[in-house]
Amino acid sequence: MWRGRCRRLLLGCAPRPAPGVPKGTGGGRGYAPPAERKRFYQNVSISQGEGGFEINLDHRKLKTPQAKLFTVPSEALAIAVATEWDSQKDTIKFYTMHLTTLCNTALDNPTQRSKGQLIRAAVKFLETDTVCYRVEEPAALAELQKNEWDPIVAWAEKRYNVAIGSSTSIMGPNIPASTRDTFSSHLASYNMWALQGIEYVITQLKSLILSMGLIDRHITVEKAVLLSRLEEEYQIQRWGKVEWAHDYDLCELCARAAAGTLFVHLCSESSTVKHKLLQD
């Protein structure tokens, strides 16, 4: 979806032929990875426009896939996005540019969802929250889940003053309606950009509770990812690790969760700097 449209990213950017497809190592047979677009710009800079901060690639303005002007509300976010574009080496690897992707989603809103729909989708995750589903056997894993997941559930219950609980049945825990209402009204206090980020983090970690722990800065990204992948980590301990599958997934999840969390924090903060009064 991205690649077809990236030509439209830039104003007045003349179409050019796609770079040659690199030949697969399979002796010309089978699937070769799709060609990536060359890095067609030299300098990346940011500038302040009317709607916020914009990204310039060699004095041409960056646009979203739907050809809207790419503007972000915070300077730190613009710098982070510019760094993503600047750190592309020879070809542009869109799959490594999570913050750019999140900004594009927030700007274009391709699924056309309203704030209410986003909140409902986020709260619905509570019914199937990873940390609420427990196993009964093997006993070692059940104990691991109890030791690792109970503290974070207890934290969420205390922080939001709700009842969550956990369950070993396939039906999941019985979440009272008041809990859902509390989370709904809490999420409603975030703006649209931050909500897009929160929903992204929730769908990555498969857990509303872990995501709120991240957004509230209660746990680090590494910890949240570890808790989200607890069963996988247990199986890895037992059966061994495969770098191209387990490590790949881990890095991907870490990158996505970190990008989403950073995105939420940068979009929802109202930075006020209070200087101490200097005595002469």
């Binding site: 690199p22 697969g24 190592t25 399979g26 002796g27 047979r29 089978g30 699937y31 070769a32 990875p33 890095r39 030299q42 990346v44 800079s45 940011i46 300077e75 730190a76 710098i79 982070a80 510019a82 760094t83 600047d86 750190s87 592309q88 080496k89 690897k93 799959y95 490594t96 999570h98 913050l99 800065r217 209660h218 746990i219 680090t220 990204v221 590494e222 910890k223 770098e243 191209w244 490590d247 790949y248 890095c251 991907e252 870490c254 990158a255 970190a258 990008a259 969390t261 950073l262 924090h265 940068l266 903060e269 700097v273």
Partner: protein, 110 residues
């Protein structure tokens, strides 16, 4: 509050990632907006007393999150290059991945 370690350690890690991620050669990473922004932010939130400073904690959490993002993206790109970036493998390579070798036919095929 999450345990984050020393802010200086986080800053060092971030600068290292920026150096590794810097784009075309010839332009030092110290010229980038990210470098200047990070240093300015860390300097602005440096406190001399040992009192708990909420703003500093928030900044540190953000910095640690950004560090995690940059590090994971770099590792992922390396893994992708190594295992996924070259399309389909030949039968010999696939066999080698799981420690097998294809049988050799003495005297060539046929």
């Amino acid at each position: 509050m999450a345990a984050l370690g020393s802010p200086l350690r986080t800053l060092r890690g971030l600068l290292r990632e920026l150096r590794l991620a810097s784009g075309p050669p010839g332009r030092p990473y110290r010229d980038t907006a990210a470098y200047r922004h990070l240093l300015a932010a860390f300097r602005a939130h440096r406190v001399t007393s040992e009192k708990l400073c909420r703003a500093q904690q928030e900044l540190h959490f953000q910095a640690a999150t950004y560090l995690c993002l940059l590090r994971s993206v770099r590792h992922l790109a390396a893994l992708h290059r190594e295992y996924h970036g070259r399309g389909e493998r030949s039968p010999e390579e696939v066999a080698g991945l799981v420690g097998f070798r294809l049988p050799q036919q003495p005297g060539g095929k046929g």
